[in-house]
């Protein structure tokens, strides 16, 4: 009885320590190799965040920074604990991807108390630029929401009687979900013939979106377009529609359902190319250079804008080929 237990115990400890050992930073090195930058990320549960973290790492290496990454698994309490742990090590800069606008503002206070300057990325946060943080850099989700409404409207003839839209939305309470929903509704108010006939949770997940879509189809609700908060949801919707023998595409006159979403994943781009996915309003993860530019500008004492907008574009059949390589 005793033996296997000891062996297993040993294995467990060795694995635990070994996994650590590979990562133990040589303490003296930190000071030698330039500045230390820590990145507190929302999580690594989808393509976008992984792509963004990789981009930051490449850029940091290129510029000679030492970058460490913490993923908060989309839990606000974990992010705050992460930031507490990070600033107690006194890094030179903190790059913060806020989980939500208000909650993560706490992290700013923590960093401020420890005199660690913060660059906010990904999403909005509550606080004053130049005081609570250096600057904010991210895509404009309201704009994306507006753009999605515009693109749906644009796919139909101007005299279309009604445009009935199914919305598959992201996780409730997330800054991007809120931004896209409000932008979409704001723009939609300008189009009297457009209305939302169903709004269900897609949770940024293919399976959840697919299940919701299947049930919406079965319920007999009529609709002409689907708006999705991420490509993964759009893929789910497409699968469900395909299974129900409904065509998706860009021509409502042929009875095709118009799908417009936010994203820029490889799968999404392929679907656009195949003509099944009408348009993608991108949300690019490729702005690490802007982040490090901001860090260097701040280090050299320059004054920065309070918000640096990351430019997004609309990808459709015409320009999809040139963006194919940037799919994440």
């Amino acid at each position: 009885m005793k033996k296997p237990q000891s062996v297993l115990l040993l294995v467990a400890l060795v694995v635990a320590m070994f996994t650590n050992a590979g990562c133990v930073p040589e303490k003296s090195d930190d000071a030698a190799t330039g500045k230390v930058v820590e990145y507190s990320s929302v999580g690594d549960s989808n393509e976008w965040f992984v792509a963004f973290a990789r981009e930051l790492e490449t850029e940091a290496e290129k510029r000679g920074y030492k970058l460490r990454v913490r993923h908060a698994q989309a839990k606000i309490e974990k992010q705050i604990a992460d930031v507490e742990d990070i600033v107690s090590g006194q890094p030179d800069y903190l790059i913060l991807g806020p989980i939500d606008t208000k909650g993560s503002a706490r992290a700013l206070n923590i960093a401020k108390d420890a005199d660690v300057p913060v660059i906010v990325v990904n999403r909005d946060i509550v606080g004053k630029a130049g005081e609570d943080f250096v600057t904010k850099i991210y895509s404009d989700f309201e704009w994306i929401g507006e753009k999605m409404a515009e693109e749906i409207h644009g796919a139909f003839p101007a005299d279309a009687k009604q445009i009935r839209v199914v919305e598959l939305h992201g996780t409730a309470g997330g800054g991007n979900t809120i931004g896209m929903q409000s932008g979409f509704r704001k723009k939609m108010a300008e189009y009297p013939n457009m209305k939302i006939v169903a709004s269900q949770l897609g949770d940024f997940r293919t399976d959840v979106a697919m299940t919701a879509m299947e049930n919406i189809i079965t319920s007999g609700v009529e609709f002409d377009a689907v708006v999705c908060h991420f490509d993964t949801e759009a893929m789910g919707a497409m699968l469900a529609l395909k299974a129900a023998k409904r065509k998706t595409g860009s021509d409502p006159s042929k009875g095709e359902i118009i799908i417009v979403g936010n994203g820029g994943t490889k799968d999404g781009l392929k679907a656009v190319k195949a003509g099944e996915y009408h348009k993608i309003v991108s949300v690019t993860p490729y702005y690490a250079n802007q982040v490090f530019d901001a860090i260097e500008a701040h280090a050299s004492g320059k004054k920065l804008e309070s918000y640096i907008r990351v430019d997004d574009i609309v990808i459709d059949k015409n320009n999809v080929d040139e963006h194919m390589d940037s799919g994440f």
């Binding site: 297993l8 467990a12 400890l13 650590n20 990562c23 930073p25 993923h71 090590g89 503002a105 309470g173």
Partner: protein, 324 residues
């Protein structure tokens, strides 16, 4: 008529056997102090104190429930409800962000109690239902957007962020509640009847203990503790999203079990919850300080492995001569 024949040696042995959680914690701390850079710093110790206090409070309530032979899966949802209400009420009258969530937590706990003692649904099922139901309620109350609490700097945010002589209030709240819990479990009739009910419910009933009342109280305490944890969370994070505190019930259960309280009921000491809570709190801190590029999966892997080591050490310490 014999077992009183004990020598010093067997005394020591039985002490060690009952102190598995403490020994494990000490081993972990020695490892951390020696191998983990920056672990010893005062800032870090305070941080750990702040970080563990919320789930720590939950674990105290959970300990009562588990000692009584039950389980409470709804604490994460109740904490979320309390956090949400605290955030919502922080602009209302004085003490509202404390009283209202507390009332909600106790009510939810009482509902658990009623489902279990009156409707006679097994605790696992009843609290699972409450876990789902309360979480749904939180989502509905939250509406489409996150609910936001008052401005930082307000007295309410002091709960999680204030300090007195370097000791965070949050840690003091946890310690205070733990102290009260120890006194309750040791020096009150209710506290002892929890053990009796958990040890043998039918017997407790026949001995004339008020089993139903005891269980009601236990779940209400758990609800109250969950609510306090939720309030501390609200104060800590300022804004409350409806998916907050998901999975806290598992953290609390794990902390309780690691502290040597058996899920069978009736066995273990409330005070030992401190060790379980600290073990679970130190592990992520160590991981955070050791890893260069911390991916979620590496994080989970190390957590899993360390937890495994912890339970193996404990089962090993506790084993000797346990024939059953």
């Amino acid at each position: 008529m014999k077992a009183d024949a004990t020598s010093i040696k067997s005394h020591a042995a039985s002490w060690i056997r009952s102190q598995g959680p403490l020994i494990t914690l000490v081993v972990l701390l020695i490892f951390a102090v020696m191998r983990v850079p920056g672990f010893r710093s005062a800032v870090n110790i305070t941080n750990i104190g702040k970080q563990v206090s919320m789930t720590g409070v939950l674990a105290i309530g959970m300990a009562f429930v588990i000692l009584s032979g039950g389980i409470d899966l709804s604490v994460g949802s109740i904490a979320a409800l309390a956090a949400l209400l605290a955030a919502r009420c922080s602009g209302e009258f004085f003490l509202a962000p404390i009283l209202i969530p507390l009332a909600a937590g106790v009510t939810a706990g009482a509902m658990n109690g009623v489902l279990i003692t009156r409707v006679k649904i097994p605790p696992f099922t009843a609290t699972l239902a409450m876990m789902l139901g309360v979480r749904g309620l939180v989502f509905i109350l939250a509406g489409k957007t996150a609910v936001v609490s008052g401005v930082s700097g307000q007295w309410f945010s002091k709960i999680a962020w204030g300090k007195w002589m370097g000791v965070p209030y949050a840690a003091m709240i946890f310690a205070g509640i733990l102290g009260v819990a120890i006194v309750i479990s040791r020096y009150t009739g209710f506290g002892r009847s929890v053990y009796a009910v958990g040890g043998n419910e039918e017997a407790a009933n026949m001995m004339g203990l008020r089993v139903t009342r005891c269980k009601m109280k236990v779940y209400m305490i758990s609800g109250a503790c969950a609510a306090i944890g939720g309030m501390m969370l609200a104060s800590r994070v300022t804004s409350v999203r409806p998916d907050i505190a998901v999975g806290w019930e598992l953290t609390a259960i794990a902390a309780v079990v690691i502290s040597g309280i058996s899920l069978v009921g009736g066995i273990g000491k409330i005070g030992h919850v401190l060790y379980g809570v600290l073990i679970l709190g130190v592990i992520p801190n160590i991981i955070n300080r050791l890893t260069e590029r911390q991916t979620t999966y590496a994080n989970h892997l190390i957590t899993g492995m360390l937890l495994l080591a912890v339970v193996l050490i404990q089962s090993r310490i506790a084993k000797k001569h346990n024939t059953h």
